[in-house]
């Protein structure tokens, strides 16, 4: 499967954030998208993840507009962003079970212990997230994004809050995904941390995406 943003434009009030941004994510690619603060990286990631509609241009999944099969597209995409998108009153296991069931993953329990172990969270599996640090929340958020073994991973600032072990765990998972054909978009400035897994770098500037 190929996920493609084609000449995407987005304005917020009078400010043009994206002015024809295009990007193709092919199987096995790990693309690092960088850009200055406020350049529109998160907006672009949200549009690619089908969470935000573009004003113009379109996002295509295998050459079909995602708007026409949005629910199927969302099940093929794993997304993590600044916000953990988790319930602080639930434990990691309860959160992952909940999102797994909604995503229709057969045997939603199955990948949860493995994901928590890889991110070093087994000892905290049954502790409510309200007591977690930023880094621990990020690990659970990444587990949620990986839960459905997605064909596309869109990770906005995935290294934020992660310690050395967390970065190693994430890079190992991204490397394995790359081998299996998962297409990944990493958004952020962590060139050094992402260097081990990145296959291509692009830069968002003045609303357009250019090779860097």
């Amino acid at each position: 499967m190929i996920l493609r943003a084609d000449a995407v434009r987005k304005r917020f009030d009078e400010r043009t954030v994206l002015a024809g941004a295009s990007l193709t994510l092919a199987p096995g690619e790990v693309v690092l998208l960088s850009g200055a603060n406020g350049s529109g990286k998160t907006t672009f990631a949200r549009i690619l993840a089908t969470l935000l509609p573009p004003d113009d241009g379109e996002v295509l999944l295998d050459d079909e507009p995602v708007g026409e099969r949005r629910r199927a597209a969302r099940r093929a995409i794993g997304f993590a962003t600044h916000q953990p998108l988790l319930y602080s009153g639930l434990t990691p296991v309860e959160n992952l079970e909940f999102f797994g069931r909604l995503a229709g993953i057969a045997g939603a329990h199955a990948p949860i212990p493995a994901l928590l172990e890889r991110f070093g969270l087994t000892a905290f599996a049954h502790v409510p997230l309200a007591t977690f640090s930023r880094g621990m929340l990020q690990r659970v958020a990444l587990s949620r994004a990986l839960l459905n073994d997605p064909s596309f991973l869109i990770l906005d600032e995935p290294y934020a809050g992660l310690d050395t072990e967390g970065v190693s765990a994430l890079n190992a998972i991204l490397g394995e995904g790359r081998e299996r054909g998962t297409a990944t978009l990493l958004v952020g400035h962590d060139h050094d941390r992402a260097a081990a897994v990145t296959t291509r770098r692009v830069h968002l500037e003045r609303g357009r995406i250019e090779p860097s």
């Binding site: 969302r74 916000q83 999102f99 069931r101 909604l102 229709g104």
Partner: protein, 223 residues
């Protein structure tokens, strides 16, 4: 069953939020107490005053519950996390509606003995019929309320907006609930006011149908 999964999650979060439960319980009980003092000490028509009191308390307690229901999603990034699962939006709506119905049922069970004591009304014989009335009223209230709460999510003064939207929409439902409760507590027969059952059922179906039609658009447009 997606809607059961969502309802279970919301109920777990309610149960673990002691501050919210305490606020909801104390607020609704205080309303019953205040209204019983306002109507008393010598009641002119205890069944009518008791019916009006319990449904007024449930209405305002419900606004708190509906707001909290949407706050739970706001705290976890709006509805992004739910939308990313690709789950059927109407099933998500039904799950939240069911959780609100169960929450308000618990509030009703708290208020019922208080109202019975303060106004000296009610009988065990009327209880099964009363529970049917409560079911009809809470399905409609939660169906419309969950829809409006999704509409008001993220806005300032959303509790006020929710009340403003809900009150006129639910007037037929609430009048029906008060009249049927009054009839049950006054003598045990609902024959003179039985048409209100049809009105309430129509309101329930309308609320659910409207949500089936609009909820996905509201959910997508809210971001």
């Amino acid at each position: 069953m997606t809607f059961l999964t969502v309802a279970r999650k919301d109920l777990m979060l309610y149960v673990r939020d002691a501050r919210f439960l305490a606020t909801l319980g104390l607020f609704s009980a205080a309303l019953v107490l205040i209204l019983s003092v306002a109507f008393g000490p010598i009641f002119r028509d205890p069944p009518l005053e008791a019916a009006a009191t319990i449904w007024a308390a449930l209405f305002f307690a419900g606004v708190l519950g509906l707001s909290r229901s949407q706050d739970l999603e706001a705290e976890s990034g709006g509805s992004d996390a739910l939308r990313l699962t690709g789950a059927d939006p109407f099933a998500l709506y039904l799950g939240k509606t069911l959780a609100n119905i169960l929450l308000l049922s618990a509030v009703f069970l708290l208020l019922l003995p208080l109202t019975a004591v303060f106004f000296d009304v009610g009988s065990l014989k009327a209880l099964p019929a009363l529970l049917c009335v409560v079911g009809l009223a809470l399905v409609g209230y939660s169906a419309w309320g969950t829809l409006f709460a999704a509409l008001a999510r993220g806005l300032q003064a959303r509790e006020l907006l929710l009340s403003v939207l809900l009150f006129p929409s639910l007037v037929p439902l609430w009048i029906g609930a008060v009249k049927l409760t009054h009839a049950l507590w006054d003598g045990g027969t609902i024959e003179p006011v039985r048409d209100w059952i049809k009105v309430m059922a129509v309101m329930d179906i309308l609320g659910l149908a409207l949500a089936g039609w609009l909820f996905e658009s509201i959910q997508e447009a809210a971001e």
